[in-house]
Every structure is written in C-alpha cells, then in structure tokens.
C-alpha cells in the first residue's frame, strides 16, 4: 500500500476528521480578479478552501487556472482549482496540471463539464477527449507515478503535490448509474467528493450511505444558501433536476413581501437559511455521513459567520 501523503489544508482537514467547510468563487467575464479576491478574503476565516469555477455553466469567464492562482496568492485562502474536460484535450489537461503544480495549487476538482450547447458559446467545439474519471486518473498518475499517460515527467520536475476531488449528484434519478459512476471515480483514485446542491435530507441520506458503504470517499455536501427571494426563485426555475422546497420558497417570498427594512429582510433571509440547513447538516454529521459541507454561497459571504456559528464551528 502506498502511504497517504497530504499536501493541502483541505485534505489535512478532511483526514483529521474535523467538519470541513469549503466555499465557492466564480470569476466572471473580466480579467479583473479583484472582486473574487475580495470575496475570498471575506470568507477566508470561515472555510478551509474555496473552489474557483471553470467556465461555469459553459459560459466563457476568466481562466480558472489564472483565477485559482491569483485568488490563492492574493487572498491567502487555499483554492480548489476546478478543471473541466470540455475545453481542452488530454494534452491541455496534463499541461494545466503541471502549471497548477508550478503555481502552488494543491487541489483540483476534476469535472467533465457542462456541455457547450448549454452555455453562451453553443457553436464552439466540445472537446471531451477525457471525462471526469479519466481526469481523476490523470492527476493521480502524475502525483503517484510521475507520468502523463505513461510519458515520464522530467527528472527536474518537483513532485506533483495536488489532491483530486470529484463531483457527485445526490439528485440523480435513477440513482443506480450515479452510484456506479462514483464507484468508478473511486477506483480511479478520487480523494474527496463535493456534491451538487441538495435540499432534502431524505434524498441526501440514502445517497451518502451508499457512497460511504461502496467507496468510503469523504463527501462534502453541497448547499446553496440563498441571499433573497429572487435568487431562490431563480435557482428553483433555472436549475434542472433540483427544486427549492415549496414551503422554504414560500417563506422567502413572505420575507420579500413583508414591510421590513432592507436590513431586517437580510436578517430574516439569513435566519431562514440557517433554520433550514443547520438541522440537516447536524443530522448528517451526527450520522457520520459527511466530512463537511460545500457552501455554494457565491456573492453571499455574509452567510458564513452565522452559519458556522449555528453549526458550532469556530472561525479559523
């Protein structure tokens, strides 16, 4: 058996057994990284690491490699570099991983990526030379065997000190194929999983149990705290396969319709999020089904302090 090397704060935290929080950052269609850095600084005390997305939803944005590096450098928050198979072939991916290593990135989230047809450049050529499982395998090959599809890295190449994670979809229907898909990623060497957004413990729990029984890969459960009714409604309508529970949506609507001042409204939204997510997370944590939580609160850094507080976690 190969000894388990730990290179990143994220992996250290996961392996230590502490309840791990990760965040999510989305550079946009600009070469100005400052807003992303600013957000990273705001959430830095409250999470171990944050993902930087790679042309999310197939929309062209600042490169995730540059974004990951600059954000990590400038904010001091460790980054999970999201890398999809949509935009580059295995040669590009191998090169990007070498680049990430040179730039001091320590985690990669290996994704297949949304299809070009679903984004803002539907006429572009989809690459998908690799899929997420292949990408997981490649990172592990580079880290463990010092080669890229069998081509040896140069002697002077430092060790590849990058951990690789993958995505998991608790909302999958049917569930069988998704579980086996994750089993395959586990066989390929995936070290942690971050799930898509889930709202329902009755969906999350059996899913997490299966992953635990069949793979043992640590899972960070994806949640989406919502800044206001507009965001909640937008998510409910725009994201296929996941819906915001009706009663939760109704509560968000009630806050919007209330005569509250802006500040009071924000406070009410915050409370709704916490009342909704915290019991679910505590329950799953108690049952030892999650290693932590991936908080996809893009542009909503203010939710982190009260959410952590309610979870009984200390700022870092």
């Amino acid at each position: 058996m190969t000894e388990l090397k730990t290179h990143s704060n994220l992996m250290k935290a996961i392996r230590s057994g502490e309840f791990v929080i990760t965040g999510e950052l989305e550079p946009e269609r600009t070469s100005n990284i400052e807003p992303t850095v600013h957000e990273a600084i705001e959430i830095k005390k409250y999470c171990v690491a944050a993902n930087v997305t790679d042309n999310p939803k197939s929309t062209v944005c600042l490169s995730s490699l540059a974004g990951s590096y600059l954000t990590q450098e400038k904010s001091g928050l460790e980054i999970v570099y999201q890398l999809t198979c949509r935009d580059q072939n295995r040669m590009g991916l191998g090169a990007a991983i070498l680049g990430a290593n040179a730039l001091g990135l320590k985690n990669i989230l290996a994704l297949t990526g949304d299809h070009n047809a679903c984004g803002d450049m539907p006429k572009s050529k989809p690459v998908f030379d690799y899929d997420s499982t292949h990408l997981v395998k490649l990172v592990r090959e580079m880290a463990d065997k010092r080669s890229i599809e069998g081509l040896a890295l140069d002697d002077d190449c430092p060790d590849i000190t990058i951990h690789v994670g993958g995505a998991a979809n608790p909302n999958a229907n049917p569930m069988g194929p998704e579980i086996m898909h994750i089993q395959r990623k586990a066989m390929a060497g995936v070290e942690f999983l971050q799930t898509q957004v889930v709202y329902d413990i009755d969906i999350a729990e059996p899913f997490l149990k299966e992953i635990k029984d069949k793979t043992g890969v640590p899972v960070l459960l994806g949640i989406f705290p919502m800044r206001g009714y507009g965001v909640a409604k937008g998510f409910d309508e725009m994201v296929p396969g996941v819906s915001v529970p009706k009663d939760l949506l109704a509560k968000f609507k009630a806050v919007k319709k209330s005569g509250f001042e802006k500040k009071e409204k924000n406070e009410a939204y915050r409370k709704l999020n916490i009342d909704f997510y915290v019991p679910m997370l505590k329950e799953l944590k108690k049952k030892n089904l999650v290693a932590g939580c991936h908080i996809m609160a893009v542009h909503y850094p203010k939710i982190f302090p009260p959410l952590l507080d309610a979870l009984g976690l200390q700022p870092r």
Partner: protein, 235 residues
C-alpha cells in the same frame, strides 16, 4: 444508413451562381438518399422542378445506385457523358461521399466541371420509422458496443463519455437538447441491467485512442496477406 437533408434552396442557388452555372445534370443517389427522400427519383424530380422554376436548364436526370462507389459513378457518367459535356455542372443529390466520388471522376473525365451538392450529410443513422432517423454510430474505429449493452456511448452521450453519466442527466434525460433526449448512459445502464451485466457498467474505460481516427482513414484489404485479413477462418 447515411442520412442527408436538403440544403436551403438559397444556398443551392448561391453555389450555382458562385460557379457560374446555368445548365445542369442532376445525379441522385439510389440507395441511402433515395430511402430518405432527398435522392432517388423522388428527390431528383423535386430538385428538377425547383431548378427549372428558378430559370436553370436541366438537361437530364440520373439515379445511380451507390454513387459513393467510384466505379458505379464512372459507369453512370459514361452513359450520360454527352449531357455532362453539354452542361456547366452536375447537381448532386447524394451524401458527401457521393459528391466527392463524382468530383474525383469528373476531374479525370470532365476536366473543369464540378459536381455541386444540394444536400447536407447529417449523420449515420438508424431508421426508427419512415422519416425518423437517429444517429447511431460515429465510426470511431474501436467499437465498444459489446461492453455497453449494444448502446453506443460515443453517439448517444452528448459528451461521448466513456465513463458516464455526467451530472447533467435529469430523470433519464440529457442536458443537451433541453432534456428531451434520453441520456445515453442511462440507456446503457438499463440495457446492461436487462441482461444482468451491470458489472460491465462499473468498468473504468480508458480514454479513446485518436491516433487512427483523428485524421483521414483508409482501408486497403487487398494488399494485406490473407492471414491478417482473417482469411484463414474458413480453412
């Protein structure tokens, strides 16, 4: 079968104008395109009336079985060589293969003349029923149907994943096409489940080898020794 569809008339007209064409011969495919209705006598008749309506002169019309076979095209062109000599171009109602074979023959036999296609070749497809076709194979050169329950992941999965499904599948439907088409990987799962071979689903499949299919492929069965061809199977 090779599935073709008509190019918009405007585009056909522009191609004819681009090549300064007035007088044409129509040559249609008698096999695939005939079945789809873009070729054959039916497709040729439609094209003829459209051309005539727009002031082009159609000297003759021919239907060729397998115009993608250069020998068949040569033979057919021999029969209408006077007509071809008389016109500016051939209007081809075939897939891209037929049109290219025609141009090969024309470069040799009718220099300075071209075959212009009036069709778009869309895919290699299965026929569900008349007029309903579904792409089924991309000729990847390394068929894995035996591992995937007879469902092609290269074609049925929008990302040609070898280890699917991706996270974009909702209720068994693919994220591409607004959740109207089945997710190929759910189809594969169901196909393997139905033959009690889900163990095959679980296999991590290596990335595809593009070294052969990333460029034009050729196959020459003639120059190979019989053994390599598998010619000794029947011994």
């Amino acid at each position: 079968m090779i599935i073709t569809e008509n190019k918009p008339w405007e585009e056909v007209k522009q191609a004819l104008e681009l090549h300064h064409v007035k007088n044409v011969v129509i040559v249609a495919c008698g096999i695939c395109a005939a079945k789809v209705g873009t070729g054959g006598t039916e497709g040729a008749a439609k094209m003829k009336s459209q051309l005539v309506e727009h002031g082009f002169n159609v000297v003759t019309t021919a239907v060729v079985d397998e115009p993608c076979d250069e020998r068949m095209t040569k033979q057919a062109f021999r029969k209408i060589k006077d007509e071809i000599n008389e016109v500016d171009a051939v209007v081809s109602l075939t897939c891209g293969l037929g049109t290219q074979a025609m141009n090969t023959v024309m470069r040799e036999k009718f220099p300075k003349k071209v075959a212009l296609t009036a069709l778009n070749t869309v895919f290699m497809g299965e026929t569900e029923r008349f007029g309903v076709y579904k792409e089924g194979c991309r000729a990847c050169g390394d068929c894995i149907l035996n591992e995937t329950g007879g469902v092609c992941p290269i074609t049925h999965c929008a990302k040609s994943m070898l280890n699917g499904p991706c996270g974009g599948s909702v209720d068994g439907k693919c994220e591409v096409g607004d959740y109207t088409r089945p997710c190929g990987w759910i189809e594969i799962y169901e196909a393997l489940e139905s033959i009690d071979r889900l163990d095959l689903f679980l296999k991590v499949r290596e990335p595809r080898n593009w070294s052969e299919s990333g460029h034009q492929r050729e196959l020459n069965m003639r120059d190979k020794p019989a053994k390599e061809e598998g010619g000794d199977i029947h011994d």
